[in-house]
């Protein structure tokens, strides 16, 4: 027989039955149940198969320590795998499935042979797939992955919503056990805004292990009554997953429930003070087949009995080495369950012995469990005692192997836990500023003492001196304490037990044998043992296994437990979904989307948009074709032969103002600026401090002390940061101010032979003649009161104008140009055509300014001034950067027009082996409608010296090889007549 619902007691709501499904069968529980308690109440004890060996597994714990009972909740896209059944509230309609079993939970083929145990021992991956057999990994990986695994995530988008909340509080108390509740009440009572968080559904911690009506329960209820203060917030189902710099604490709130809008909420709290009351987790006992369904933690069993009114079986063997399991034995006996109590100690306290006798409990002293019998569930256990070895029939084994303080959060910022021999445990080291640790996590297991300590800590966190305990709470001196430390001297691994079936880490299937073997193989550091055996590396992070493993290691080496440090604790304390970390930053909300003032016009006129950084820009317009390939070529022809208009509002724009502005530009640009006249623009290039080209753009002089700088779209932010840095941190003596005006100005390029005619028609009041507005000229004016700044600049190589107007007038000016341009057949063009036009002209852009190229590499060395120092000039003269073998900018002309080189292709000279890194690479490719073939830019060793040579553009991923002739990068109008005309 296995678990059953007790007829009375518990804190479940028997008036609200809830149906749920597990592996296709319908069961019934009550409101207040967890999935684990409801399964147990229905007699279900086999709930999962283990990770590697597919051994049958049952429920072990009550809360976050549960290693085995991992289930998938929900169906289809909403399915969430690997949830602990102990942490899933029973809600109507709940659908749960067991994991890692095939074909079914009851009959698992992987387990049927027991074959895997022989192969998957410690260091399996390292031993099996190293050296000559390494290639075998590729062949076996899918099979191994299928055999060893957890639940499967859905491949569909998660329909649930998540959110992230940032908040502040004076005092944050983590853990609503007796210590934490006392601390939170005291802090709130002293006037502090207090947040108390509890990972379970009900506050109370260990108090919930006591039955309703007990002294513990009475105190808990009284404390909860007082928790209704307006400055005290209690969040349940909320786990503190990490403690970070500045004592920021990450809280994961499981909002959950069916129909809830938000499934999980990540709360990032910056508290003034943190009180940690994270409690302790019970240690399993080690004996052969200690992973069989029915072997549980004693403290967990007491929660099931008293909180959920579920008994795990009819005949329970309680195995302990300390006092903490006795209350369980008494409660079970009182509930009518047959109890055998096996205490490893020779002399348990007399008071407990007498009470056990009075309750009719069969107490065995100096009794050590050695081996469980029963395959799919406990049928009995072998006990070795002073009178030899006996077999005790039972269906449940409740183990009390001592307690492990939860030091995780206290260690997240790096404080190492310290060993306390009297407690037989590690406790937090000296806490960081602003953090206090109280209660069981400090080894304070006496409830009354923990409450008193909590009150003191709460007052201290609120900045108040200690004072008398709150008189309004019931006296707590009657609460149980007792000695809960495992006595030293008893080996954790019983003599004669087969270490290969003694499971330390049940979730990752790591046995005592694995850990002992790792020592024999030289993995002496616990950190190495952990990684070699994967102990403690499962989703439960070894909450029930780490300390027992350290004990086994110490025993195997003949050392004292506690000398070796624990492994490192890192966030998160419990698993959380990626959804919770992403919050609402998913899909279109992941990044802001920047739109130009003319965005809606583009959409209305059939533009296909494309993301460039955060910006949405027209890629091409449907007037020129349905697909990009045809459309951009048509748009290029339009600009070359008639005229086009493009939205260039995304360019970075920076006002550079001040008496030292010219000097400043002289320092940050490679070329000279002092000679630039007011009303003229100049192309400029900036280097980084290491001498590599940073960005290019044009800067216009609007007045003696006033310049208007443009940057590339991609570098608008970085260039501003760069300029601000030099003005603030390096040359504070320069009287210059820089201001980003990127969003303040809309901008559009009007390019092509008819561009001047379009401007003249659109802005009749302005003189845009070649004399008034020559190439690199600047004109400021207005159209119907709308300010205009027109720069005669060309990126396309055609006569072209950049028209700037305040962003609010952007659409009006754009539409004015479109209307005025209609007689001249003005058409919009997108960034694909813009790119093609500049490639034909050999103008460099992003693919060439790739953060690795120098002025020389780009053939722009003549731009670098020799009359003044500039940022990056000395570093650009480093020998490696001036090496003549560096790849330099060239044009690449395909030999066979049918074979076009691909951007990113590696270049080799034609007589060379196609191997290695080659002589350079293709940077940009376009079809040239003017030339009737594809042309490309690239970087190749020798640069101009290689003109005339034949190279192979090799793209091995697609097995494409195109022969190209190395030529001058300017394919059209080398003299630049078109733009100056």
């Amino acid at each position: 027989m296995t678990g059953f619902r007790l007829p009375t007691g518990g804190r479940i709501d028997r008036s609200r039955p809830i149906d749920f499904r597990f592996d296709g069968r319908t069961y019934s529980g009550f409101a207040g149940d967890t999935l684990a308690s409801a399964l147990m109440a229905n007699g279900v004890r086999l709930v999962g198969r283990s990770f590697k060996y597919h051994r049958p597994r049952g429920i072990v714990g009550w809360g976050v320590e549960e290693p085995n009972a991992l289930v998938t909740i929900g169906e289809g896209a909403a399915a969430v795998p690997n949830l602990q059944a102990t942490m899933v509230d029973l809600v109507p309609g709940l659908v749960a499935r067991s994991q890692n079993r095939w074909p079914s939970l009851g009959f698992d083929l992987m387990a049927a042979t027991g074959l895997f145990a022989r192969f998957l021992g410690a260091g399996f991956y390292y031993k099996t797939f190293m050296g000559p057999t390494r290639g075998a990994w590729m062949a076996y990986e899918p099979h191994i992955r299928r055999a060893a695994g957890l639940g499967k995530a859905s491949r569909d988008p998660d329909p649930a919503e998540y959110e992230i909340v940032h908040e502040h509080t004076d005092v944050l108390v983590v853990g609503a056990g007796p210590a934490g509740m006392a601390a939170a009440l005291a802090a709130a009572d002293a006037g502090s805004d207090t947040l108390l968080v509890e990972q379970m559904a009900e506050p109370g911690g260990q108090l919930l292990a006591s039955c309703a009506g007990s002294a513990e329960d009475t105190w808990r209820r009284a404390a909860l009554d007082q928790a209704a203060a307006p400055n005290l917030r209690l969040l349940t189902r909320t786990t503190a997953i990490g403690l970070y710099d500045g004592n920021v604490v990450g809280l994961l709130e499981r909002v959950g429930g069916t129909g809830a809008l938000v499934r999980e909420r990540l709360r990032i709290v910056r508290p003034g003070r943190v009180v940690l009351a994270t409690g302790a987790i019970e240690r399993p006992m080690l004996f052969a087949d200690n992973d069989r369904p029915g072997v549980m933690l004693a403290g967990a069993v007491r929660h099931f009995v008293n909180h959920a009114a579920v008994a795990p079986g009819r005949r329970v063997l309680v195995a302990t080495d300390n006092d903490s399991a006795y209350p369980l034995a008494f409660d079970l006996a009182a509930a009518g369950v047959e109890v055998v109590l096996a205490d490893r100690r020779e002399r348990p306290p007399d008071a407990l012995v007498e009470r056990a006798a009075a309750a009719g409990i069969d107490l065995r002293r100096a009794a050590t469990p050695r081996a469980v019998s029963g395959r799919r569930g406990v049928r009995g256990i072998e006990i070795r005692g002073p009178d030899g070895t006996v077999h005790v029939a039972c269906d449940t084994v409740a183990c009390a192997g001592g307690w492990t303080p939860v030091v995780h959060l206290a260690s997240h910022r790096g404080a190492k836990p310290v060993f306390d021999a009297a407690l037989d445990a590690f406790v937090p080291g000296p806490p960081e500023d602003g953090i206090a640790c109280i209660g069981a996590m400090m080894g304070v297991y006496d409830t009354a003492e923990a409450i008193a300590q909590g009150e003191r800590a709460g007052l201290a966190a609120a900045g108040r001196a200690a004072r008398r305990a709150r008189s309004r709470l019931p006296a707590v001196s009657a609460l149980a304490g007792g000695d809960v430390a495992s006595p030293s001297g008893l080996p954790v691994l019983p003599a004669g037990a087969d270490a290969a079936t003694v499971f330390l880490d049940q979730q990752n299937d790591v046995t005592a044998k694995d850990v002992i073997q790792a020592q024999a193989e030289g993995y002496r550091s616990p950190e190495h043992t952990k990684r070699y055996t994967t102990l403690g590396m499962a989703t439960d992070q070894g909450k029930t296994s780490n300390i027992n493993a350290l004990k086994v290691i110490a025993e195997a080496r003949g050392e004292t437990f506690g000398v070796m440090a624990t492994t490192t604790f890192r966030p998160p304390y419990t698993p959380l979904t990626l959804g919770a970390l992403a919050g609402r930053n998913v899909g279109r909300n992941k990044l802001p989307e920047r739109l130009t003032p003319m965005h809606d016009w583009h959409l209305a006129k059939g533009a296909r948009m494309i993301e460039t950084g955060l910006w949405m820009r027209p890629w091409f317009y449907r007037w020129a074709g349905a697909e990009v390939g045809a459309a951009y070529v048509g748009e290029m022809m339009q600009v070359r032969e008639r005229c086009g208009i493009a939205d260039i509002s995304t360019l970075g724009k920076i006002d550079v103002v001040g008496p030292d502005a010219a000097e400043f530009l002289n320092r940050v640009y490679v070329n000279g600026w002092k000679g630039l006249a007011v009303g003229r623009a100049r192309y400029g290039l900036m280097l980084r401090e290491d001498g590599i080209v940073f960005d290019d753009g044009t800067t216009s002089r609007l007045a003696e002390d006033r310049y208007f700088m443009t940057t590339t779209t991609a570098n608008a932010g970085p260039v501003l940061n760069h300029l601000e840095f030099y003005l603030e941190a390096v040359w504070p003596e320069l009287a210059v101010h820089v201001t980003s005006v990127s969003d303040q100005w809309a901008a559009m390029a009007v390019a092509g032979p008819r561009s001047r005619a379009v401007l003249r028609a659109a802005f009749a009041d302005l003189d845009v003649s070649n004399a008034a507005l020559p190439h690199m000229g600047v004109l400021e004016g207005a159209a119907d009161g709308m300010p205009l700044r027109i720069l005669r600049l060309s990126f396309s190589g055609e006569r072209a104008y950049e028209v700037y107007t305040p962003a609010g007038f952007g659409l009006a000016i754009w539409e004015r140009l479109i209307a005025a341009g209609a007689p001249f057949d003005l058409k919009p063009y997108g960034i694909e055509a813009m790119g093609g036009l500049r490639i034909e002209k050999g103008h460099v852009a992003g693919p060439e300014l790739d953060g690795r190229t120098t002025l020389r590499d780009l053939g722009l060395e003549r731009m670098g001034s020799t009359k003044k120092p500039y940022l990056g000039d000395v570093m650009a003269r480093r020998p490696h950067l001036t090496d003549t073998r560096r790849p330099r900018l060239v044009g690449l002309d395909p030999i066979d027009p049918a074979k076009r080189p691909r951007g990113g292709a590696i270049l080799f000279f034609e007589d060379e082996m196609i191997a290695g890194h080659g002589r350079g690479h293709v940077t940009s490719v376009t079809y040239s409608p003017t030339l009737g073939r594809h042309v490309a830019l690239g970087l190749i060793e020798g640069g101009a010296e290689a003109h005339g040579r034949i190279a192979v553009a090799s793209y091995p991923v697609k097995e494409e090889f195109a022969l190209v002739r190395v030529v001058d990068p300017v394919f059209l109008d080398k003299e630049g007549k078109r733009l100056a005309d």
Partner: protein
């Protein structure tokens, strides 16, 4: 989750700032031709355990460049000054 006390905006989350590197290095004079000095300035950094003066840009705030003193071991922020304040750059506290 550092918090930087911006002299203009008060204590602000470090997510509002971008890191700008070691503030302990001194840039050679603009007209210096000493390549070794430039290499030291651009590439050579100490990696101290303990207090470290470094540039932070309050890029999502007042946009001031600051010199922040941060303990690299504890991540404690010991102070923050305007970068243009030479006292901060030279390591003297106010």
């Amino acid at each position: 989750m550092l918090q930087i006390p911006c002299p203009f905006c008060g204590p602000r989350d470090h997510a509002e700032f971008t890191y700008g590197g070691d503030a302990g290095v001194t840039r050679p004079e603009m007209d210096s031709d000493d390549l070794g000095a430039w290499v030291d300035y651009v590439f050579i950094r100490d990696n101290p355990r303990g207090p470290h003066r470094e540039f932070w840009h309050h890029v999502h705030g007042c946009r001031e460049w600051l010199v922040v003193e941060r303990d690299t071991a504890s991540h404690a922020i010991l102070g923050a000054h305007r970068a243009r304040d030479r006292r901060a750059r030279e390591g003297r506290r106010e």
